[in-house]
Every structure is written in structure tokens, then in C-alpha cells.
């Protein structure tokens, strides 16, 4: 069971790494914000899977912190995105 969960964590990690291409290449700021948001959620999924796989509940606290602050960073990304003169 633990190995399968670790394999699942690896798969999510590889998916998220692939998602990075959108950050690196994304033409617009919106694309980059989306990719960062997906990376945040992917990171949370990896942490949660590792917490179950290696039975270390501390990783759940790390995932909790990440979940709390990924939203915060994403909002900051959107608020500070270039070309936002109209929103301010």
C-alpha cells in the first residue's frame, strides 16, 4: 500500500512538473497564474500522498500551510499582474 501511494505521489509530481512548461512558456500573465495555481494544488496532493505513504502526520501540517498560502500567493499574483491598471 505504501509503495503504491508513493508511486501515486511521484505521478502527481511528474504531472505538475509537466505543468511547469506552461509557466515557462505561457504567453500571458493569466497562463502563468494558472500554472502556479496548479503547481500549488499539485504540491499539496504530493504532500498529502506522502503523508499517507510514509505515515508522517507532520506532512499534513505542511500541506495545510501550503493550501492556506497557495491561495494567498495566487491572489497576489492576480492583483499584481501587469496591465492591471483598470482594476486598481
Amino acid at each position: 500500500m505504501a509503495e503504491l501511494l508513493q508511486l501515486a505521489a511521484l505521478l502527481v509530481l511528474l504531472t505538475v512538473a509537466a505543468g511547469l512548461l506552461r509557466i515557462l512558456r505561457g504567453p500571458g500573465a493569466a497562463d502563468r497564474v494558472m500554472a502556479a495555481q496548479l503547481l500549488g494544488t499539485g504540491g499539496i496532493a504530493v504532500l498529502v500522498l506522502l503523508a499517507a505513504a510514509t505515515a508522517t502526520p507532520a506532512l499534513l501540517d505542511a500541506a495545510l500551510t501550503l493550501a492556506l498560502l497557495a491561495a494567498f500567493a495566487a491572489v497576489a499574483l492576480v492583483v499584481a499582474a501587469p496591465g492591471r491598471a483598470s482594476r486598481r
Binding site: A62, L69, F72
Partner: protein, 313 residues
Amino acid sequence: MTGLLADLAIGAAILALAAGMVAARSAFTATAFFIAYGLLLGLAWVRLGAVDIALTEAAIGAGLSGVLLLTAAARLAARPVATERAPGPLLTALIALCCAAVAVAIGAAILSLPEPTPSLAAEVAANLPATALGNPVAGVLMSYRALDTLLESAVVVLAVVGVWSLTPPGGWGGFPGPFHLRVESGPLALLARLLPPIGIVIALHILWVGKDAPGGKFQAAAILAAMWLLAWMAGLATPPRIASRRLRFAVSAGAGLFLAIGVAGALAEGAFLAYPAGWTKALVLAVEFALTASIAVALALLVMGPPEEEDRA
């Protein structure tokens, strides 16, 4: 096997983001890379068996640093700073060569580390029960290297003083942070109303659990600071003026209490920062809570920045 693949994936992603950051054209792009880099670095710390640092990196690296740099990038886009010319291709290549040499030298040092690695883990394990703390990193932070933690809380207070000293002439004593940044937009206001209560409960949980498991004051302080910043960014909370005594006391209270306990320890136990026998747990808790509150206020004020000119509102 899956561990190695995970490390390779995390390492490659971090390197790609770092290279992308250095080669980025716009500051916003580089900052978006930096936030992604912070998140991945948190995973790297988990793989390195340092969950405490992963928590700190996620809270400070991905959260607070990201917001700080993003708001700075947005405001610098409006008023760019005169930058000198970029070095020519030849010079850039030379710089790249030297930096590569530095990296190779450090890499060589890593590969030739002594085999029986000198480690203090055994000593920490032996003396941990005396600190009444289960988390070894917290034990080191609060008793063996308590001086580091004291100096660090002093550094945070000094950073606030430094940032406030950058107030333009007309703005002294005003509200910290720029005026126009606050955005009354629907979704942000929703988040700013829902997230802080949850964040405060989580921060207290992480602070409390930090005694015996990864967690602790710096991570809790960073989360509390992020929650206050969120409310401030959405225009729901206006911080007190920097001239207010209460705010200044809040920023310096943690370091002050820690220093007082240190001096009291010197008088009572003969050694600076020594905790009297039966009091360790109580004193450590008192300092942890006071430091968390002070550092949370200080970190938030650091990200907000100095007050602006009154007339430019």
C-alpha cells in the same frame, strides 16, 4: 526507486525554474517563477527529511516573499528604476564561466564529504528530554542555540526599523504601506473574510504542535502575517499608524521578553539564557507565544513597507 525519480523530477524542475528566473525578461514573470520555485523547494525539504524547513519555506518562500516581490514588481513596472547597461556578450560569458566554476567547486566539496559524517544528532537526542520538547529542531532553537533565536528575533525588529526609516519626508507617522494597492474586488474580499479565521486556527495549531512535531513559532508567525496582509490587501483592515506606541510595543515585545528571560537566567542560573530547572517548559511556551505574536506583526509590517506621502493618496 520512486524516491530517486521524485528527487530527479524535483531537482530538474527547480533548476528549470531557476534558469527561467534568471533569463526572464519581465519582473512579473521572474516573480511567478520564484513562487513556483518556493513551492518546489518545500517539496525538496520534505524529501531531505526536514519537514520544519519545508513548512517555513512554504510559509515564507511561497507566501510572504511571493507577495512582497509581486507588489514590488507591479509598482516598479509603473515607475522603473534607471538600470545600468547589461554587460556585453563577452563579459556575460566570462561571468557565466566563473559562476560555473564556483558551482563546480561546491559540487566537488559535496561529493568529497567525509564518510562518517560528523553529526550532533546523538548529543541532541541525549539532551532533548531536559528541554521538555519533543521536536529536536525546536529543542535546538529554544535551548542549545537559544542565542541564535534571540538574535534572529532582534534582526526582524531591526528590519522593521530599517524599513520604517525609508519613509519619505512627508509620510512619517502615517499608515504603513502604499494607499493605492488595496483592491476592493469581489473574490478578494470573499477570501479575505473567509480565510483569516481558518488561518488563525491553523497557525495556533502549528504553533502548539511545534513542541513535539514539525511546526513552531516562525511558521505560525508567517501564517498569521499572511492572514493580516490578506485582510489589508482587500481593504478590510487598516493597520495602526507606525507612530502608535501599541504597534511598536507589539513588534518589540517578543524579543524583549526573550532577552529578559535570558538575563533572568543569567542572574538565577549563572548562564545567559539558562532556564531554571523546573521552569523550562513554562518559559519556553511563554517565549514561543510572545515571539509568534511579535514576529507575525513584524513580518506583516515588513511586507507592507513604509508609509507613503500623505498627499499622494
